[in-house]
Symmetry: C2
Subunit: 97 residues, 2 copies
DNA sequence: TTAAAGTACTTTGTATTTCAAAGTAAATAG
DNA sequence: CTATTTACTTTGAAATACAAAGTACTTTAA
């Protein structure tokens, strides 16, 4: 049952989602445009990765209008922050065996 | 062109391949059974991930018989070791921003 | 001695995931 | 106005992940 990769969270086991989380844990929030630019990904690709994290309740999404333009903000949840911490620890443990 | 996830190597961006590499960089070699047990994966799954790393020339494969039983040993290549080092540094950089 | 179970993989096919292109809708620029 | 840009969402094909089944033996044990 227990293996050396057991505590690596599948939800974070992709560079784009790892990037999203590492941005959100230090920034409190980021909007679609900011994530897109920092990560250098296409729109559709980013949307599907944020959706996956949202589904797990690791981030939440707040839609509003800034002036008359739509704006989507992403926040990490408590659950997400905790899970990410465990994930990072698991990676570090794996790499420093 | 350059983003915060740019130096993360797609070939290592999966927990199983990350696990395989982290085993191989410290052990010089591991056989199929050892990898399977350490990682807790199914046979077919392990085979496809080792094949992916082999294709990139990050590991090489040596088939022989131990007694009368087939045995497959995996070694990390120089190229693999270098690429993995860069990958690990990229992850660490990302996580400690 | 032969049947059953185990070992060490490989092959196959489906399910899931990833991704970019195209689509939508409103804003701003010319 | 019309054209382009911004800010996303939807769609569907392609790639990937995965387990189950298959192959080719070897070992156990009745």
């Amino acid at each position: 049952m227990s293996s050396i990769i057991n505590n690596i969270n599948k939800a974070f086991d992709h560079r784009i989602r790892l990037g999203i989380m590492s941005i959100l844990v230090v920034n409190e929030y980021a909007d679609f445009k900011m994530l897109k630019e920092l990560l250098g990904v296409t729109d559709g690709n980013l949307a599907s990765h944020t959706k996956a994290l949202e589904k797990e309740e690791y981030i939440n999404v707040e839609k509003s209008f800034i002036g008359r333009k739509p704006n989507t903000k992403y926040y990490v949840t408590k659950k997400g922050r905790d899970a990410f911490k465990k994930h990072v620890e698991a990676i570090e443990k794996l790499l420093n065996r």
